[in-house]
Symmetry: C2
Subunit: 323 residues, 2 copies
């Protein structure tokens, strides 16, 4: 059984990724069963179910398992993990919905004007701009709905309220949306018009906020200690930063077929990226530093040692991926 | 004092509206204090604070007061009302934020492409399409944030979770956003391509869902009985329908200066309206019926008789307004 494997020495990470992706996508498909108005649900389904790494969802699930296994006084590890997965799955799906909606709106002509996403036509290329706009709005609220509706029986109300509040903060003007605005403001800026602090601030919002939330929420749903939640949050900061540096590097060094999108776009549109701020070599050095810091944090944190290998593997995956 | 006046025979409704509008707008301004990124907050402030009737917010406040005063066994009416207002105000503001964001996105070129709103340039005319898009997204999540953050100390967690869940439902694909999509699908349709049921279904989502939520949430936050919540919900259905029929009539019979927007737009764009479905006279008859039904419901409901005059006055205001 997979759960048992995670805790064995021959942990098959590829198989783990595949199983988790399926778990998340099957549940997402359930939450997005076609209803009236059909076109709206088709448009939302199209963007949420069109692939993607599901890294954010996996982080939530792994954080929930780590806290659950660590804090339990009794119970078999596999049962604890399974229970944690079931509790955290709606939240993991909500995060994927928010992530998908951010891509749908980002791709619109008035923002990045992208025709391709993961090798497929973007939402507005298929459904038109108006429906893509409304599908994004719909997904944002559906994410809240799914989180609250499907978690309220398994988690104490106060904890769930805290998670719902943080989802709004991570996604809203002080989080993801704020980061998108900053990103937009610095797009086109000359090299000497921004510095590392600018890039860090853009990405702490644009990609970082949701990744931090993904890790923290998994722990919070399982009633993690303050120490555990602080470690997960910090691990989220590190992983979010590393994820973005990797993205910026792939835009320069990746190839179109593997990426499923055209590389070189950051450079062409003059985005404020890590590569532009500190160069390819600088970005690679920074990335190694983040990797080492993340690994060290896990090894000295209040998270379960038995599950730390999974979080470590997810960090390495976020850094060493090819797309 | 105003609270005392409401329960007297010479209730000054105009003064009441003015005071409530100020109460709501002052609080909205607090929640929207400018932060980084400044342009985003300016854009959100612009649309939320650019006027409007604040009818939805007033409905929440009035429903909260009605339930509070009715269910109390002790306490002066004025104190109970003041307490209810303070508890329901964040929710009322959240509803206004959602309403404002729906107008910002509706006005975008890919949807209604409107240049004017309440006699002022629309958001994207001032801030550009990209920022208007992101300001709408930001407001949607800020609404959730404000509701949870500022209500969690005064309302039991389970009740607040129920309200947060319903806000998402009222706003999302099964509510407001779903109604916008249906509205869009039937815009341009010939007269024989839609019927009363179509128009009713469009508006039950597009304007109805948030108005029903406004009334229901005020009662739920004050821990109303099932009977009270059912009455408020039904009153919301009636008022929402009446509000929309009035809107459709004003588009035909109103004048540009009073409206703050160009009338005749529904006809020009062939929207599926009540006037197109059943004619001006038909719409007026339907409106009288809704008014009578709403008044009768209040008089026979489990809502406090002392506060029913306010809800009745708000219904009449929704129907007899000139803009």
């Amino acid at each position: 059984m997979l759960e048992a494997q995670i805790h064995s020495t021959n942990f098959d990470f590829e198989r783990y990724l595949e199983a988790r992706r399926k778990l998340v996508e099957d549940r997402l498909a359930e939450y997005l069963v076609e209803q009236e108005p059909a076109k709206l649900w088709q448009s939302m389904r199209y963007s949420v179910l069109s692939g993607g790494k599901r890294l954010r969802a996996m982080l939530t699930l792994a954080a929930a398992e780590a806290v659950s296994v660590n804090n339990a006084t009794t119970g078999a590890t596999a049962n604890l993990s399974e229970n944690a997965l079931q509790i955290a799955l709606p939240c993991a799906c909500a995060i994927e919905m928010v992530h998908a909606m951010s891509l749908v709106h980002d791709d619109l002509p008035c923002l990045d004007n992208d025709d391709l996403r993961r090798g497929k036509p973007t939402n507005h290329k298929i459904y038109g701009e108006a429906l893509a706009l409304l599908a994004g709005d719909g997904l944002l609220m559906l994410a809240n709905e799914v989180l609250i509706e499907h978690t309220s029986k398994s988690v104490a109300s106060a904890n769930l309220l805290a998670v719902a509040l943080e989802l709004s903060r991570a996604t809203g003007p002080s989080g993801m949306v704020g980061g998108q605005v900053k990103d937009m403001e610095f797009t086109g800026a000359a090299d000497d018009k921004f510095d590392i602090a600018t890039v860090e601030s853009i990405h702490a919002g644009k990609t970082g906020a949701l990744i931090r939330f993904a890790l923290w929420s998994g722990g919070k749903l399982m009633n993690g200690t303050e120490e555990q939640l602080t470690s997960l949050y910090r691990f989220g900061e590190i992983l979010g930063l590393a994820f973005q540096i990797t993205d910026d590097l792939l835009d320069v060094t990746g190839d179109a077929q593997t990426l499923g999108k055209t590389p070189g776009k950051d450079e062409a549109t003059k985005k404020a990226t890590w590569v532009r701020a500190i160069g390819i070599d600088g970005a690679r050095i920074k990335l190694s530093e983040m990797e080492a810091e993340g690994v060290a944090l896990l090894e000295h944190s209040a998270l379960d040692n038995r599950d730390a290998p999974v979080l470590k593997a997810l960090l390495k995956y976020a850094i060493h991926r090819k797309k």
